[in-house]
């Protein structure tokens, strides 16, 4: 962690613990860092604490203990400033059904943009990212799940956040839509230098997208590194087998 130096850190999670009201401990001392400009993947079985961690980084939940910093800003004490530089895509996010895709993007753009012109540029970019074409002028309630996800991803990226937090970005999508989403994430992160922190169950996706991954199990980080290095270290054929080995032996 120290080797990276604080200036280059997009996300710094230290000894993070989250216990929900009712006593369920979702995260139990999780620590990891995400470098600026990288695509970092959090992987782990259901209930490992991935979504809780992302929600804490997105300032939606407060940690029980530990600390989380985004570009040096504390997510609890400086939450409003953190919200200005991040963009969060929840796993099962929806959009306002009775707005058109265009209206939805315009509404979101106006919250971030300094001027009307900036907002228009953001929307234009989002339309391009989403690939929805003329359907952008249809109401969201007429969209398929894949179209909705593309719209939401476009919304997340169009604001050019310093950190994009994507929770299961391709969950429930068919191959075509999933491919589109993955390509958009990779290209956008590269071309705009956006740091991406994502969670996924799909090991292929993680291998394709992420420069580094962290495997989370029962609220703790059990392995971390570049996908190829992890595969070599564990002497297996792919990341899925690393995952099974690490989680199974944890």
């Amino acid at each position: 962690m120290e080797r990276l130096g604080r200036v280059n850190l997009a996300v710094e999670v230290k000894e993070l613990v989250k216990v929900y009201p009712g006593g369920v401990a979702a995260v139990r001392g999780l620590s990891f860092v995400v470098e600026e400009g990288e695509i970092y993947g959090l992987i782990g079985p259901n209930g490992a604490g991935k979504t809780t961690t992302l929600r804490i980084i997105a300032t939606l939940l407060k940690p029980t203990s530990g600390s989380v910093r985004v570009f040096g800003l504390d997510v609890v004490r400086e939450a409003p400033r953190v919200r200005r530089i991040i963009s969060y895509l929840p796993e099962e996010a929806g959009a306002y059904r009775n707005l058109t895709g265009y209206e939805y993007l315009s509404f979101m753009a106006r919250l971030y943009a300094a001027s009307r012109r900036d907002a228009e540029e953001m929307v234009e970019e989002a339309i391009r990212i989403s690939g929805l074409g003329d359907r952008i002028h249809d109401k969201v309630k007429t969209y398929s799940k894949g179209m909705k996800r593309r719209l939401l991803l476009a919304r997340t990226l169009m604001v050019r956040p310093r950190l994009a937090i994507l929770d299961e970005p391709t969950s429930g999508l068919d191959v075509i839509h999933a491919l589109h989403v993955r390509r958009v994430i990779r290209d956008y992160a590269r071309s705009h230098g956006v740091t991406v922190l994502l969670s996924s169950h799909n090991m292929l996706e993680v291998e394709y997208l992420c420069s580094r991954v962290g495997i989370v199990h029962q609220g703790r980080l059990v392995a971390e590194g570049e996908p190829r290095r992890l595969i070599e270290e564990h002497g297996v054929g792919n990341l899925e087998e690393v995952f099974a080995k690490v989680v199974g032996g944890a």
Binding site: Y20, P21, G22, G23, V24, R55, A58, T59, L60, L61, K62, P80, R83, R84, I86, S87, Y88, L89, P90, E92, A93, G94, A95, Y96, R97, M108, L111, Y112, L152, R155
Partner: protein, 434 residues
């Protein structure tokens, strides 16, 4: 197959505790509470009237007849109604009654010239009764009934005397020798009793309109937060670079717009309803309850409705935030109906002229009574109760806004509460099954 499906549906519905409260407990509580409120109010109203009658009624007497039967009438009033009579000089009855009201004498009985001469000739005599109606309530109307029944009661008394003294008298006359005309002084104007009865009917309908608007407003507001949760838009909304208070303010502003539209729509509908009822019985808008309060009064009533609707929206938004989806958010609104309906009826049955001021101030302090209290305060010229009611509603509104802002500040909006309790119940069930 059907049984299996029905069991599934029932389990799904009945295990939603919010739905149970909103859909089953709330309607039960509303009617139980309304029944208790109405029976209490009616009992108290009647007791207040009986007490006044037992003490003896007070009335002014304008005797333009000065004959034997007007003397008999005076004796009847003093003996059988324990009336305390205040003699008044001849003059326009409404003007004389206003002077009497200033001396806390609420009624005037006018015995016209020729009253005794008519009865002596076997012709029907007529009395005029003028009564002050302090408020459109059961007690005021019951008390007015005591005064307006004087001609009929005297007629029965006189009838027995006439029948026992003479056998050759016209039986139609002997059965009912005295008739009467009753007029009321209501909100400073002279009104026919029949019109007043109609207004009383209108007044009983008045709580229904605000109640419906309040209910819809609360439901709409609860739905707006329920939809955010159900459609999974809330998480994104809360992660945007806008203050949580901004989100609350935006939701409240849109509720405010809906509340304003709703209030205007209700006022137009209610004015049409009241006007058409008044017209159908020979009056018009001027003789309706709205006509009496005038444009300024109507504006005040609309403002009170607006305040109640805004409070309902805010409360709906706050309670709705405890639901997980649209269904449970809306079922929480059942609480608003209980909170709003019972006080509205409590205000309806109260009498601003006759009830103890402490009780009236307590009722005026309850949220959602403002529309009724304002209207009643305007017709009875007791504006203190309108002011107290509006101020109290405003205070509660501010309190709910603060609670709402606090709710949006924390993470409970996303994670909810009661996890521990639910888990314990779940553990208990698993253990029992094991």
């Amino acid at each position: 197959m059907l049984r299996v499906l029905v069991v599934k549906e029932l389990k799904d519905l009945l295990r939603d505790r919010k739905l149970l409260i909103g859909m089953i407990l709330a309607p039960l509580l509303i009617y139980v509470a309304m029944g208790a409120v109405m029976s209490f109010s009616i009992r108290e109203s009647m007791r207040a009237v009986e007490e006044r009658v037992e003490k003896g009624v007070e009335l002014g007497l304008m005797d333009l007849d000065k004959g034997p039967y007007s003397t008999l009438l005076r004796q009847f009033l003093e003996r059988f109604m324990r009336a305390r009579i205040v003699e008044v000089e001849p003059g326009p009855p409404s003007k004389v009654l206003r002077k009497l009201i200033a001396k806390r004498v609420p009624a005037l009985l006018v015995v016209p010239r020729g009253f005794s001469r008519n009865i002596s000739r076997g012709l029907r005599g007529f009395l005029e009764v003028y009564v002050e109606i302090g408020d459109l309530s059961i007690s005021s109307m019951a008390l007015a009934g005591v005064y307006s029944s004087i001609p009929e009661r005297f007629s029965q008394y006189l009838s027995t005397i006439i029948i026992s003294n003479s056998s050759s008298v016209n039986p139609v006359f002997a059965k009912d020798p005295v008739g009467g005309v009753s007029k009321a002084l209501f909100a400073g104007s002279e009104v026919d009793m029949a019109l007043l009865q109609s207004m009383m009917g209108q007044a009983f309908m008045l709580p229904i309109a605000p109640m419906l608007v309040v209910g819809y407003a609360a439901s709409l507001a609860a739905m707006s937060i329920g939809v955010e949760k159900e459609e999974k838009t809330l998480e994104v909304l809360l992660s945007l670079p806008i203050g949580r208070r901004g989100i609350v303010l935006a939701k409240l502003t849109s509720s405010l717009a809906i509340a304003a539209l709703s209030s205007v729509s209700m006022m137009v509908g209610l004015a049409y309803y009241i006007s058409s009822v008044s017209t159908s019985i020979g009056g018009g808008f001027g003789t309706s309850i709205f006509g009496f309060v005038g444009p300024e009064g109507l504006a005040m009533f609309a403002a009170a409705v607006f305040l109640s609707v805004l409070l309902a929206s805010t409360l709906g938004l706050y309670l709705g935030s405890f639901g997980e989806d649209v269904r449970s958010a809306q079922s929480m609104v059942g609480f608003v109906w209980i909170v709003a309906t019972v006080p509205l009826y409590l205000a309806m049955f109260s009498d601003l002229a006759l009830d103890p001021p402490q009780r009236l101030l307590a009722i005026a302090s309850i949220p959602f009574t403002a529309p009724l209290m304002v209207l009643k305060a305007l017709v009875s010229s007791r504006l203190l109760y309108a002011a107290v009611s509006m101020a109290s509603e405003l205070l509660v509104l501010i309190l709910v806004i603060l609670l709402l802002a606090k709710r949006f500040e924390g993470e409970k909006l996303l994670v909810g509460r009661g996890g521990a309790r639910r888990r314990r119940w779940g553990t208990l069930l698993v253990k029992r099954r094991a």
